[in-house]
């Protein structure tokens, strides 16, 4: 695997000014956001029955164990659905359209899904089922890294 760092000319796919993620005050997803800063992708997994779940919950939806852990995944995914956004619904997005949002399923984590942007040409053809690889987009000023995706080479 090559570098997991965003290497396009822009430092972020979308302009600055959008709301940045903050770990939930109740601590539910602190580990997830801590990990993205280290360029690691984590999915919650039940320590009792090994069921994966995302977004995180306080208990396993399968066996009701509260003993949940975070499992590092490979960052390989498949495009499950996608959309090309043309109408800006936030002042920061004016001039940034179109852009691509993808819903990615993770085959090595029970096919849980994550949302991100699909890096590269916003007008690229998108095929559902295509393999993608995670890339982390650093936002040091916000103390956070976003989870982005690029079609796997």
């Amino acid at each position: 695997m090559t570098s997991n760092t965003l290497t396009t000319e822009k430092t972020s796919y979308l302009p600055e000014g959008l709301p940045m993620p903050a770990a939930s005050p109740d601590g539910l997803d602190q580990r997830f956001w801590d990990a993205t800063k280290q360029h690691e992708l984590m999915v919650q997994r039940c320590a009792s029955c090994q069921t994966f779940q995302f977004g995180p919950e306080w208990l396993c939806h399968k066996c009701h164990s509260f003993d949940l852990e975070w499992h590092k995944v490979s960052g390989r995914g498949r495009i499950y659905s996608w959309e090309r956004v043309w109408h800006p619904v936030h002042p920061a997005l004016k001039g940034a359209c179109p852009y691509l949002v993808v819903l990615v399923e993770l085959p090595d984590a029970g096919n849980v899904r994550m949302v991100g942007n699909l890096l590269g040409d916003p007008m690229q053809d998108i095929v559902i089922g295509s393999e993608v690889q995670v890339e982390f987009e650093d936002h040091p000023e916000a103390g956070i890294a976003l989870v982005q995706w690029r079609v796997a080479g």
């Binding site: 979308l14 959008l18 709301p19 940045m20 993620p21 903050a22 770990a23 939930s24 005050p25 539910l28 997803d29 956001w33 779940q53 995302f54 977004g55 995180p56 919950e57 939806h61 499950y80 659905s81 996608w82 959309e83 090309r84 956004v85 043309w86 109408h87 619904v89 936030h90 002042p91 997005l93 940034a96 179109p98 852009y99 949002v101 819903l103 849980v112 899904r113 994550m114 949302v115 991100g116 942007n117 559902i128 916000a142 976003l146």
Partner: protein, 389 residues
């Protein structure tokens, strides 16, 4: 079973709405709009508004029942109810809750109401202006997935992929609403017809939705009075009897970050089953249907999940011809609905369903016996209502 149902035990006895305005266009406050609609609905039923003793709403309506009851000088307040969840998922659900309160004997006359003046409060179609976002929104908003259109386009795109179609169906749904609105003087889009060319040529909002696949945002209020079947027969209007009402959400549909296991769905699969079970009728028995259009793709999936056609034949079944009020197989959204009458959060669909039963719609289907409403596709929870003449 028969003891534990609202079927045939309650009826809608009064309906009303204010003038419908473009978003931000209301010249009076949201509370005043709401009060006007409630008073007019009581008058339509032949009731003194002070006799209303129950209030039910949905989607976090800002006008809470104790304040409304105080303002109206209601003699008593015996039921004060909010259907949880956002969007229009609770339109029929609020009628269902009102029905339950009536059958339980809590209340005598329950008003279901919704008031919206978006110019005075926030807009639905805009993203959050906060600097940070926590919880489920943290997994979507930073990627520019913030609005209802953006949330639901993802589901519809997947449906269109799985079933290899849907464009023509969505177009027909949009054209139908606009065509019916041209007959309805209440409609905000009355006098603004939509051609197939204009639909196809409209700008993208978010693929696969173009401009006319999306509902409007409006100001106004609507209200319906629900009471027991016996009381309804003593009032002014022909009762629209509730023969089924259902609400709910399929397995883990509210799993965060778009993780509902069954994803390409309007969330009506289990609700529809309960609805038909209570009504004791089948889709072919429905004379006219009002199906909530936040976005046309949601209507498409709703009609599939209520059994009107299979998911692989949406483009064949969902045509302007089949949706016409005059001779269509399934007359749809006969007032113009959220797309072209008014985005009254789907309460305008319930007033229209009642008008169809009374025979007073501006796009009246002949001899309506069964009039159906589907409220709020793709949100959690959703709800349904079937009325009978």
């Amino acid at each position: 079973m028969s003891d534990y149902t609202v079927k045939d035990k309650v009826a809608v006895a009064g309906i009303a709405e204010t003038t419908y305005y473009k978003r931000g266009g209301a010249p009076i406050s949201e509370m005043q709009l709401t009060l006007q609609a409630i008073i007019a609905a009581a008058e339509d039923a032949g009731l003194d508004p002070r006799q209303i003793d129950g209030f039910a709403s949905y989607s976090n309506d800002r006008n809470d029942p104790p304040r409304l009851a105080a303002a109206l000088g209601c003699d008593d307040l015996s039921f004060s109810n909010m259907f949880w969840g956002g969007g229009g998922g609770g339109g029929s659900g609020a009628v269902a809750n009102a029905s339950a309160a009536l059958v339980a004997g809590y209340s005598k006359y329950v008003v279901v109401y919704r008031g919206l003046a978006q110019g005075q409060f926030g807009r639905f179609g805009q993203g959050t202006q906060a600097k940070t976002v926590s919880g489920a929104g943290a997994y979507t908003a930073p990627y520019g997935l913030m609005s209802p259109a953006q949330s639901f386009a993802m589901r519809v795109q997947r449906f269109m992929y799985e079933h290899n179609g849907g464009h023509e169906a969505q177009k027909a749904i949009s054209l139908t609403s606009y065509a019916h609105a041209q007959r309805n003087p209440r409609a905000v889009m009355h006098g603004s017809p939509l051609s197939p060319e204009a639909y196809d040529g409209a700008r993208w909002i978010v693929e696969p939705f173009r401009l006319f696949d999306c509902c409007m945002e409006n100001d106004g209020a609507a209200a319906v009075i629900v009471t027991t079947a016996e009381r309804a027969r003593d009032l002014k209007q022909k009762p629209a009897y509730v023969i089924a009402a259902a609400q709910g959400s399929d397995y883990r549909q509210a799993a965060p970050a778009h993780n509902a296991p069954d994803y390409a769905t309007s969330n009506f699969k289990t609700v529809a089953k309960r609805l038909w079970g209570m009504a004791g009728i089948e889709p072919k028995d429905v004379d006219v249907c009002q199906s909530y259009e936040n976005f046309t793709g949601g209507v498409m999936m709703s009609l599939v999940e209520h059994g009107f056609c299979s998911p692989d034949e949406v483009d064949d079944f969902m045509t302007v011809e089949n949706f016409r009020f005059d001779g269509g197989k399934l007359p749809l959204n006969t007032s113009g609905g959220n797309l072209a009458e008014c985005y009254m959060h789907g309460l305008e669909l319930i007033t229209e369903a009642v008008r169809q039963v009374r025979g007073t719609s501006t796009a009246q289907v002949p001899n309506v016996d069964i009039s159906m409403v589907c409220s709020g596709p793709m949100v959690q929870p959703v709800s349904d209502l079937i009325l009978r003449a």
